[in-house]
């Protein structure tokens, strides 16, 4: 099976799992007793956070390998992961903000979890601005790799923030008392299907973008060779 066939298969699997996830959210899982249907945002908010953190983890891993091996492939992978991570991180913040309004009575508050997440968003925003504004040189790639490695240090801080500081953000998956806050097994099943759907969506988008960036890098190298060959032919006439 070639890369294109794998991407197509992933696209169809993502679509099927996303439909199943939507069905479970809107028809299968019971709404939480206190928050009502606004709590259903949770089933997409958490998977968005998971894929955003996974993306940023991959940016750091790709950055380490780029600094170690110097292979353009790792830089392209890091760039693709940062871009998809930024999309999912933005959506996670927006979904959380919409959920917060009816439950907390405000769109945003400078709570420890929200603030550390905003810092994370700013750092990867900075990464993408660096990549978009500077030329594609090895130096830009090195700066990007270092920034990606430094920025990922905020991910464990975001995760631990609900335990380290006072916060109004709930610790649902692992509560402060231990165990998890999902009392109904249908809630756990729905969350797992949503996480699987978003993981597939992330892998699919990442593969598409990574393939594009890799192709662009190779085409750039080819264009330079063609320019040299053209000059040689013109000089030989």
């Amino acid at each position: 099976m070639n890369n294109s066939a794998i991407r197509n298969w992933l696209g169809y699997a993502t679509l099927a799992l996303m439909v199943a996830a939507l069905f479970m959210v809107f028809d299968y899982v019971p709404p939480e007793a206190e928050q009502g249907i606004a709590q259903l945002i949770f089933y997409f908010h958490v998977p968005l956070a998971w894929v955003a953190f996974a993306s940023f983890g991959l940016v750091a891993i790709a950055g380490i390998f780029y600094l170690w091996l110097g292979d353009q492939l790792w830089d392209d992978l890091g760039y693709a992961a940062a871009e998809t991570g930024m999309v999912f991180c933005t959506l996670m913040i927006v979904a959380g903000s919409i959920w917060a309004k009816p439950i907390w009575g405000t769109w945003w508050t400078w709570d420890s979890r929200l603030t550390t997440t905003f810092i994370l968003w700013l750092m990867y925003g900075g990464y993408l601005m660096l990549r978009a504004s500077a030329d594609d040189t090895p130096q830009t790639a090195r700066f990007g790799a270092v920034l990606g490695i430094v920025a990922v240090l905020d991910v464990p801080i975001v995760i631990a923030s609900v335990r380290l500081w006072r916060t109004i953000h709930p610790a649902v998956l692992v509560t402060k008392q231990g165990g998890h806050g999902l009392e109904d097994p249908r809630m756990v099943a729905t969350l797992l299907v949503c996480v699987a759907a978003f993981t597939l969506l992330w892998v699919w988008l990442l593969m598409l973008r990574f393939n594009q960036l890799l192709t662009r890098s190779r085409m750039g190298a080819l264009a330079v060779r063609i320019a040299f060959a053209s000059a040689a032919v013109a000089g030989g006439k």
Binding site: H45, L91, A95, W99, L205
Partner: protein, 61 residues
């Protein structure tokens, strides 16, 4: 059905943004395909030029 509007807004924004990102990727792919075709044309022209440049040398020998 209190807060239905918030639920609808959240899911609409999530799927709307993902759709826009897929469109962005699709457009990038179209631009990349156009660049690739231009490179292929350049390569073909280069091959033709190098063949034309080498023909007199071969014909002399």
């Amino acid at each position: 059905m209190e807060h239905l509007g918030y639920l609808f807004a959240a899911y609409s924004i999530i799927f709307g943004a993902i759709f826009l990102y897929v469109v962005f990727i699709w457009r990038r792919q179209a631009a990349l395909d156009a660049e690739l075709r231009a490179l292929e044309a350049q390569m073909a022209a280069l091959k033709e030029a190098s063949t034309a440049a080498s023909v007199p040398e071969h014909s002399e020998t």
